[in-house]
Amino acid sequence: MRKIWLFLLGAFFITPVFLVLSGTVLSRYELQECLLPLITGADQFIGWKFFPQYPTFEHYLRVLFYTPQFFVVFWNSMKIVVLVLAGQLFLAVPAAWAFAVYRFRFRKVLFTLYVVLMLMPFQVTMLSNYLVLEELHLMNTHGAIIFPAVFSTFPVFLIYRGFCALPDSLIDAARVDGAGEWMIFWKIGLPLASNGILSAVVLNFLEYWNLMEQPLAFLEDQSLWPLSLYLPEIHLDQAGYSFVASVITLIPPVFVFLIGQEYLERGIAASALKE
């Protein structure tokens, strides 16, 4: 009984996906018929067909073959996400290692700084970001999104949590045996970081694929926009196009979600639990 109502509630949570999916195969005429009141503002309720009378792939064809603009935007999103994630890992793994393994002066203060920065919402750092970007002439380039994001401290925190599980005695044994610090990081640290790294990748992929505030503030040129800003610009009278674009936008994060759910959950729990 409990299982059934929980399942139904959960299923209700994902109905938007089915709505969007079914919208992609409705023909132009059916869509118009369903959504007309929204476009004209008429005093009628809109309708919907979860199973179209004449399913069609015309909208998919249109997006994939006749709208080069869509690809530009899609690759903007991909470029931003991939570069951000790569840069983050490159910086965060060693930094997390430093916090987890070494005891140095100001360690506690610096780590607190990292935690504070990871939790600050964009609005607080918006102006300071802008001042640097303006100074470095990065405004209105993808660099304006990528550079500040690369130095995000959230991955450091996640990966740090993974390193903390590592027993001190292991590292000390390696040291006593004469392994260099770099060697220890490379041979013992990196393999152990994989869980934290995957958590950071999954959580941040979902975050940066969905990025809105930064591009909205720092990118004027529409040809530089990511999908998250481009989609809402499509007017409702092109509903079919809009639905297909939405579905294509949905594919990468859903893919990451499905293969990385275990790490997603670990990453979430890492912020609540002290190991």
Partner: protein
Amino acid sequence: MTARKERLFQLAKSSNAWVWFLTPSLFGVIIFVCVPFLDVIRRSFLTAVTQEWTGLHNYQVIFQNQAFQLAVKNTLRFTSVCLPLLIGLGLFLAVQLSRLRKMQLIKSLFLFPMAMPAATVVLVWKMVFARQGFLNLFLNNLHLATQENAIDYMNTGAAFWVLVFSYVWKNLGYTIVLWLAGIFSIPTDILDAAKVDGANERQCFWRVVFPNLKGTLYTITVLSFLNSFKVFREAYLVAGSYPHESMYLLQHLFNNWFVNLELDKMAAAAVCVGTVLFLAILLLQRAWDRDGTA
């Protein structure tokens, strides 16, 4: 400390290798965040254009600014409605889920909204919450609303509740996972002991589980509060820069000041909001330090 540990500690301390590991990241943090934020603090005491010293003038201006007052009021209202709702609902569902033998699938369903980009969701929200939308259609079928008195949820005070719904929908899975982590960290022998002593499900929860979740509650509250700032995405996509006044949040205000280059007000507001959040985060840290298990 044992002699062996002492020696190893010395070994670790003598190594300066941490500098190499930390510097690249710290350098970026200082250049991109710390230094400019100090500049923001400085600017909050200056005029925007001529950069003259004005003392606390900017702070006076924002606190008397009607848009700022409205935005703070709405943001506080939003948080005070959303947090209890999200945290309570999350706990209830997490407890229900924890009693199932197989919960993975259902948990996935609740987590799924995290993977849905705001831009996709907004298309759906427009169809659901418009005056001619699905919600009104549904209410009409139940004879609770008619075509004539149908509410346009986006452009009336109801917009606030659309935002609340949106926030809960998106973050409930996240909250459930946090609660479950807390619930499963409770040692099972306490629960077993309670069951042996004849406690029923309800007693088990209120007498054993709940008291052990205080640390988790604390963490979830602070994290959800900070996460609530991201609701701007949905709010902006649904209603643009100047939404219905019931959902004009601090995030809108910052964005609009930025667009109009009112940097002096922005600096003062960033310092104020930053300080409040900074204190909240320090409280969270204290909870982490104090409470090893949750």
